[in-house]
């Protein structure tokens, strides 16, 4: 599990953090800021389903959970995050499907 297959990039949490060193993709010449896991950087241990304000940052307009390839959250934290969002949905703190 720890080995990297093929040319897959290292997961977001293992990449160097802090700097926004540019990543130049092979063909398209544009700069991309490196994504970091917010929970690792800010050292948030508790991802609680009652903290609606925090969870709101990780759901899209329609109420969907934002994938970690976009938000940059590391896998262990994304797991806890999705659990928390699902609990919050169950008690009507967050919508299952929001109308715009």
């Amino acid at each position: 599990m720890t080995e990297q297959r093929g040319g897959r990039p290292v997961s977001a949490s293992q990449r160097p953090t802090g700097t926004d060193k540019a990543v130049v993709t092979q063909k398209k010449q544009y700069f991309r800021r490196k994504k970091v896991c917010r929970f690792c950087v800010e050292k948030i241990d508790d991802i609680n389903y009652k903290d609606v304000r925090m969870l709101n940052a990780f759901i899209a307009e329609r109420g969907k959970i934002i994938p970690r390839r976009i938000s940059g959250v590391c896998a262990p934290h994304q797991r806890r995050l999705s659990d928390a969002i699902k609990k919050a949905r169950n008690i009507a703190l967050l919508p299952f499907a929001a109308s715009i």
């Binding site: 953090t17 690792c40 241990d45 169950n90 009507a92 299952f96």
Partner: protein, 140 residues
């Protein structure tokens, strides 16, 4: 000892005294089932994210209780289900989470102390620690 959190939504038009009375009745049923009610938190009225039983808002109440027996939860959930005041509820067991958080907090304190005393961080932390402490070490 198991620790539980019970978050439930009360109808917005229910009178305050009735809600208090209901919470008291829950307290007595918890203690008669061999547990203790540790915390009661009323959040007040909030807008619901979706419609529940034709209501668009509700009063949230958070209880924290601990018990040795699994029957306590069964009994509490039964009472919530039967009650006319309550429109939705959620039970979460939190003792594992609390334990994990406590452990994590201790770890962080220890690491901060070590860094303060010894200066540079130890050469070879384990893989699990590396992931946690990576950002911390960068700062040092």
């Amino acid at each position: 000892m198991r620790v539980y959190e019970e978050l439930f939504i009360v109808k917005p038009d229910a009178p305050e005294e009735e809600v208090d009375g209901f919470i008291e009745s829950l307290r007595s049923s918890i203690s008669s089932a061999g547990g203790t009610l540790d915390k009661v938190e009323k959040w007040g009225k909030r807008k619901l994210a979706y419609r529940v039983e034709r209501y668009h808002e509700g009063a949230y109440v958070l209880l924290q209780f601990s018990s040795d027996k699994a029957d306590t939860v069964k009994e509490i959930e039964r009472r919530l289900r039967v009650s006319d005041l309550v429109i939705k509820f959620l039970t979460v067991r939190i003792d594992h989470t609390l334990k994990r958080l406590e452990k994590r907090k201790k770890q962080r304190e220890k690491r901060a102390q070590r860094r303060a005393v010894a200066g540079p961080a130890p050469a070879q932390p384990s893989v699990a620690q590396q992931m946690l402490g990576e950002s911390a070490e960068k700062e040092a």
